[in-house]
Symmetry: C2
């Protein structure tokens, strides 16, 4: 199933005791439907607290045969209004939303107004400093391609191989809201990787760092030389790709 | 002062006992600044609970001389993040934000997706039925000009003269969110007028009423012949005009 959620009022995707999580909400709805026989869901990615999704993908084994569109209607009826299910498909037993994902697209939104826009405050990170679009694009350019992203991964990342390929790292300005919208498309992202990349690129954008720092940071393979991890609320999982 | 607010967590503009209101929040901040000498504010329009503003205007008498930009900084620092003050001016004693307003612009946003978009759910009314853009424009056309809007005013409206002039009643589709964005610019609006107009125009848009009902409803001068009052969350006060 493909779904969207507003992450504002969730303590992230992954189930945790006594917290409202996306996984917890969906499993609660499924358990209501299945009359108690426990259903565990798996997501393509575990978004952090406050992170949003427009194209999260989940899979699960359901104990009874239900048509795909019946499952869609039931879950939309049973879940709260900050989660919406868009599509539902009955898939092969070998399908796995996380392990078979070939790539993902994320967006990160930045509110560059001097005063934070009250209407985007839950969906964008506020960075009220003068930014240069050309420098920002140059910084993003250095990140495209295959690199060891150790410097841009949380020290808590437990993945041994930190090499990833970024197919697209771009920025455009939203005409209506004037937000800076960063798009990252890649074969996989390390823990906090996009938030650390944006935190570092903003330092280049506003002139606190030279553009040439980006290749140096990549080469250093050291988290401490990159910029800060920016707020989760600007991040949104847009799409997951499968063969 | 010109300000914006996200109306979601306010019980409207006007102060009410034991409720969180826009006026109440601002007066609380002003009273903190003035160390207890009470300051009453006046707004250009009293938005209802859940209604938003991007261009509300307020005025007040402040007991001490403070530079306009100092007032702006102080109120932004003291108020919660769902209110933002954009401009501040020291005006003539005769200025009045409500009585001297020559006109206003409002927007009303409609989410026409089959399933409600979780990211616009607090700022748009969900209307999941097939709508015809041409019919919608024709209906809006009938409303432009000077009319007695009795049929489109809440029965609770206490204004005796219900004649108003609408300079612009238009609709466009937001490219990014695909919302239908209605714009109304006029010399004044009666209580609930825009929400009743939109409730009626949506009945034309989705085919439940013929376009020719609009002039008939105007002529009837009877609230019961118009459509329902749609949700406050879709409405936003965009601009107030003065000479």
């Amino acid at each position: 199933m493909k779904l969207a959620y507003d992450g504002t009022h969730f303590s992230g995707f992954q189930v945790q005791p006594n917290k409202r999580t996306v996984q917890g909400e969906i499993e609660k709805a499924l358990n209501t439907m299945s009359k108690g026989s426990f259903v565990r869901i798996k997501g393509a990615g575990r978004t952090d607290a406050g992170v949003h999704a427009r194209g999260q993908v989940i899979h699960f084994d359901y104990p009874k045969a239900i048509p795909a569109d019946g499952m869609l209607r039931a879950l939309n009826a049973l879940s709260s209004e900050d989660i919406v299910f868009y599509t539902s498909d009955i898939v092969d037993d070998r399908f796995h939303s996380q392990y078979l994902a070939k790539g993902k697209t994320y967006q990160y939104r930045v509110d560059n107004h001097k005063l934070e826009d009250p209407f985007t405050r839950l969906y964008a990170h506020h960075h009220p400093f003068k930014m240069d679009l050309e420098r920002t694009k140059q910084a993003l350019n250095y990140l495209e391609g295959t690199h060891d992203f150790t410097s841009f991964a949380s020290a808590q990342s437990d993945k041994e191989d930190k090499t990833r390929t970024i197919y697209e790292a771009s920025v455009m300005i939203d005409e209506r809201t004037e937000e800076w919208v960063f798009t990252f498309r890649g074969n996989g992202f390390l823990y906090n990787m996009i938030r650390i990349i944006v935190g570092t690129v903003l330092q280049v954008a506003d002139g606190r760092r030279p553009v040439e720092d980006i290749p140096k940071i990549l080469k250093a393979k050291d988290r401490t030389v990159a910029g800060p991890t920016v707020a989760p609320k600007g991040l949104c999982m847009m799409e997951v790709y499968y063969d």
